[in-house]
Amino acid sequence: MAQMNLLQAINNALDIAMADNDRALCFGEDVGHFGGVFRATSGLQDKYGKERCFNTPLTEQGIIGFANGLAAQGSVPIAEIQFADYIFPAFDQIVNESAKFRYRSGNEFNVGNLTIRSPYGGGIAGGLYHSQSPEAYFTHTPGLKVVVPRNPYQAKGLLLASIRDDNPVIFFEPKRLYRASTGEVPEEDYQLPLGKADVVSTGDDITLLAWGAQMEIMEKAAEMASADGISCEVIDLRSILPWDVETVANSVMKTGRLVISHEAPVTSGFAGEIAATIQQECFLHLESPIERVCGLDTPYPLAQEKEYIPDHLKVYEAIKRSINY
């Protein structure tokens, strides 16, 4: 085991993936010699050459279009979009092309080798164009997988699984956590399963569900609730699409209550999808309405970021509302 922060874990996963498969490539804006603005690709160009790790022109639609072509050809592209906020120029290439390649061709061609990495989320004083959490947009598109890790151990295992998964995967990295802390990460090659939630801690009174950077907030709120004698089951969804209905439903059937939290605006956010499914699966077990603690339906603010964020206090209040319903 080594101590790594989230960025080092990602860099380590990319290194392993490129060493393991000489058809794997990393590219994106500033990804080459500089190693990316967050340094996720540091050292890879030195190790694997300019042909396999390189800077691209400033064209998100070009990066993903290029990556789609590479993947269709049999290469293993790992494309970086510098900030998730800037993934939208590539939206057409992702939702109309990557997602539908295999289906529309009857599996004559596919881009299953494609992985798109992108830092997402707020809490870094980034304002409205460096803080968004766009995962829900992509969950509305069949054919994609959407994955969000919460710590260095997960980042490495889930990224390696994403790169080797035979479907296009969008891998959103919580940039607030990039250097926030370190954790134990095995140095060897390992994968964590996609589509499987992780029960972080067990409890009996209420289920708290989130993913990525929001997990820290859930754990903090669970601690506060625990002081009040409320036992929380905390679940990290990890894969947003497909998502692990079974684990969440089993938990809610046990606890009878559910709080879901994400940073993105509440309207049409993925918490809505989860709430709809869980009320269908667990209707007779629910003791109170499913709570959503999410961002406001505004662009992500700068000066009022602290107010905007669905923080541990907002989650704690939701827990109490649910328990006292």
């Binding site: 396999r52 691209t56 639609q61 070009g62 290469s75 289906y103 529309r104 004559e108 209905v245």
Partner: protein, 393 residues
């Protein structure tokens, strides 16, 4: 850092603005309409066998287009896109390439697929979206594709294949393959962001891709003078630092010559090339469109005189490689063949219900299989409402 322009460009001390038209882009013409070559023109590599195959492909193209437009009018197929008047661009392009080269087309390049050997039955299976369609009945008619023939399945959103072709070609290059990618698009698609993204990516990363613009004058109803200003699409190739040639797209020998040279260059220099083929879309954009609403009969008649198939026929006759008896035998045979194939394909079953959820992912995930199971139960309850699939559950 590229400091060449700053340090080595010519310097003036009074302002000079450059007009796009001051960059003279010549147009390559080899074959005249009467079947004779222009003086001094160089032939592509072509012999009687290849020429005959090319001509037969052109004939098949025309017959298929005529028959399918008629079939659409009769309500037998829902939609069709013909390539009347610009068949030489796709057939000539494919004839100048090797079988291992990837073709990434827009939607009006069925001639390239024909040249590669896609059969009449395969065309029909796609258009009738039956269970033998390689695309499993998922896309509208004319969205063909074949892995075996290195012809990427057509995608409807315009221009998306352009940056993809750059990536595909880059992958071929990294593997050291004796292969390039040709990327077809119309002058309308050249307005899309993907065109600019794709050209730039290929130029910067030196991908062996041939960008082939069919400049056919119209994007649905929008004439090219409302689509772009400046010196055609070729000038944009030059702007991106891509070696570029403009050719007569109705002259199949010019098409073949340009694509043969482009392939050689792309491979040897490992770099993109752009070809702008000037042509004219004699027919409608699609069967949903009526060109009489936006252009004159006179304009169309003028272009009918540039018929690329007739032009090649005239050349074949002049070479004594073809005669009128072969001509009528070929066309009659093809018409019968296409009609017979229509009758077979329209009777073949539609894909099974399971195909709705196959291929969304490599393996259908649980939520998709659950949705399909629920749908199957529903269909079993109301079989008459879903006659296509209910009988096969």
């Amino acid at each position: 850092m590229n400091t060449e322009i700053y340090n080595e460009g010519p310097v003036v001390h009074k302002p000079v603005f450059i007009d796009g038209h001051s960059v003279e882009i010549p147009i390559l013409k080899v074959l005249q309409q009467d079947g004779t070559l222009y003086p001094g023109a160089e032939l592509p590599e072509i012999d009687q066998e290849l020429a005959t195959k090319v001509y037969k492909t052109l004939a098949f193209h025309r017959v298929l287009d005529e028959r399918m437009v008629a079939a659409q009018r009769q309500g037998r197929v829902s939609f069709y896109i013909a390539a009347l008047g610009e068949e030489a661009t796709s057939v000539g392009g494919a004839a100048a390439l090797k079988d291992q080269d990837m073709i990434m087309a827009q939607y009006r390049e069925q001639g390239a697929l024909m040249f590669r050997g896609f059969t009449t039955e395969q065309f029909m299976n796609q258009m009738f979206s039956n269970e033998k369609d390689l695309g499993k009945g998922r896309q509208m008619p004319i969205h063909y594709g074949s892995n075996e023939l290195n012809y990427m399945t057509i995608s409807s959103p315009l221009g998306t294949q352009i940056p993809q072709a750059s990536g595909y070609a880059y992958g071929q290059k990294l593997q050291g393959l004796d292969a390039v990618t040709i990327c077809y698009f119309g002058e309308g698609a050249a307005s899309e962001g993907d065109f600019h993204a794709g050209l730039n990516m290929a130029a910067v990363h030196k991908a062996p891709v041939i960008f082939f613009c069919r400049n056919n004058g119209y994007a649905i109803s929008t004439p090219s003078d409302e689509q772009y200003v400046g010196n055609g699409i070729a000038s944009r190739g030059v702007g991106y630092g891509v070696k570029t040639i403009r050719i007569d797209g109705n002259d199949i020998l010019a098409v073949m010559k340009a694509v043969q040279l482009a392939r050689e260059y792309a491979l040897k220099e490992s770099a993109p090339v752009m070809i702008e083929a000037m042509s004219y879309r004699l027919g409608a954009h699609s069967t949903s469109d009526d060109p009489s609403g936006y252009r004159t009969r006179e304009e169309e008649a003028k272009w009918q005189a540039h018929d690329p198939i007739l032009r090649m026929k005239n050349w074949m006759l002049a070479q004594n490689w073809w005669d009128e008896a072969q001509e009528s035998e070929l066309f009659e045979g093809l018409r019968d063949e296409v009609l017979a194939a229509v009758k077979v394909a329209e009777k073949i079953d539609k894909p099974e219900l399971q195909e709705m959820v196959n291929d969304v992912y490599d393996v259908p995930p649980k939520h998709l299989q659950d949705q399909l199971d629920a749908l199957a139960e529903h269909i079993k309850k109301y079989p008459d409402a879903y006659p296509v699939t209910s009988g096969r559950l």
